[in-house]
Amino acid sequence: MCSVRVASRMNARLPAVGALILVCATASGLHAQDAAQYRDKVDRLAARLEAVRAQVLAKDSIGSPVDTVRRGPLRLLVRPERQAFLAEVADITWDTLATMLGADTLLILGSHVFVHVADDSRLRLPPDVGQYRIWRLGEPRDVAADLARFIVHTIWEGLDATLRSWLSNPAGLDSLSNTQAEAVYVDLVTAPWELVKACRAGDLEACARSLDLEVADDTVSLWYTAEEQRRRVEKGGGTWWDIYNRKLPDYIGCTGGDDAACSVYLNQHRWMIGAPLSASARESFLRVALEVGGEGALGRLARSEAPATGGRLSAAAGVPRDSLIALWRDRILAAAPAQVIITGATGWTALAWVLVLAFLALRSTRWRNP
């Protein structure tokens, strides 16, 4: 327990700083504890932190009367005259995030998100209060979009290294768009690898491997056939390293026809080779998983302790892995771009317009007052 005394404006900062230090120190000592204890601790600390901050804000250390707009994990500190605007911002932001975050909000975020307006000189806040600053009051929707982006970024920062590495880049929480799905469709139908071709043909296990959803020691062999591995080795990365590497025994062995040498060589040079499907495809899979999982999906993803990414995403979605893969595959195949080939409706409509226009032209009058 820590007691907080607030006597002056300067002193007002101390308890909050102290609380933050306490959170950090305690959190770092939690590695050995089990998940339930960990969650209880986090909850208690978060509640405590908010209480401390509330105390700070309630005192006369604040230069002017301040209201707090509360939506889910959001705490917006506002001057009364801006309350309506920021309440709208909070509504929009929370509408965007609520479904995905659900009841696990605080668990995922670790604490409430305190928000204030940067240019508010009358609102003198302690330095630790206000993780997010609104720099410009424009349209509520724009401000809310920035705030949502910040929160999503915070969430990804909180995920473990395996997931972050699998995903490459932080993804948004919005549903998979048609444009994104169409790009993945192109990957799916153009990737020259046997595994992806099998996935496209309906082999769900092949899809799982292509998306790097499984744990394996020799992922290279899991992903590519011997011939494909050889092609990758021969093609190289196009750098001066390739020239150097061509002198390595494994390189010589691989290009000479030794399949095992190819595998060894590529596993030693993992930077040359990635999963058969792109990071965009993996991101699309995550989005589908969160979409299927609905409320609390992200929380389940964060809490899952499955060793393979496939298992964790399955937990987030709340459906078996293969079902999720099948859903993803259907979704991607459904996003096939419009056909280049002209449909009958388009062709006949164009011809009909030609006839209509020709008819109008034929009605060209001879009465022109020359």
């Binding site: 419009a338 056909q339 280049v340 388009t346 060209s364």
Partner: protein, 218 residues
Amino acid sequence: MFREILRTQWKWSTIGVVVGAVVAFALPLMTVQGAGTADARWIEVRQLLDDQRSWAQWYPLLALAVGLLVGTSAWTNDHRVRHVYALTLPLPRWRFVLLRYGAGLVLLVAPMLALAVGAGVAASAATVPSGLHAYPVALSIRFALAVVVAYSIFFAISSGTTRTAGYVLSVVGAVVVVQLLFRVSGGSTNLLTAIFDRMVTWPGPFEIFSGRWMLIDV
């Protein structure tokens, strides 16, 4: 009679037809310059498709330009002499217009064929990555239809009187004014966008221009 009309129209539209045909032949060849190997990596495939997409916008523009040039040049010389010559020739007006229209269509075969040949050459010369396909026939048909639609639009407008042109311009002006009034009064309705959408989506006349103009695609 048709041959003479064709001959005059060729004389008036030579530049449009020849330049259009040359560009139509060259355009597909330009689009496949980035086509690489059969086992291209996904990033190369995407690059190729992005290139295709960026070139794709030129096909409908070319179709519009060729249609515009041939459609309007069919009437420019008649407008200069206020149609007196055409109207004192011994054939019904509709027949004269039909002959002019037909002559223009015959001339448009040149750019259409040029694109078909160019697309065929490009498709056979390029190494299309696995999973992608070349669509020279579909592209040629789309281009031909777009050219004919564009030509018909501009031919029909050009064959009208000054009064007709005035009506068309008045309608366009009225739409713009109404849109401005909407905006001034704080309305959110975007009339111009709505009309544009109707024109470029089925069954609008410009739908053929808004399709997928890819020589190489999935």
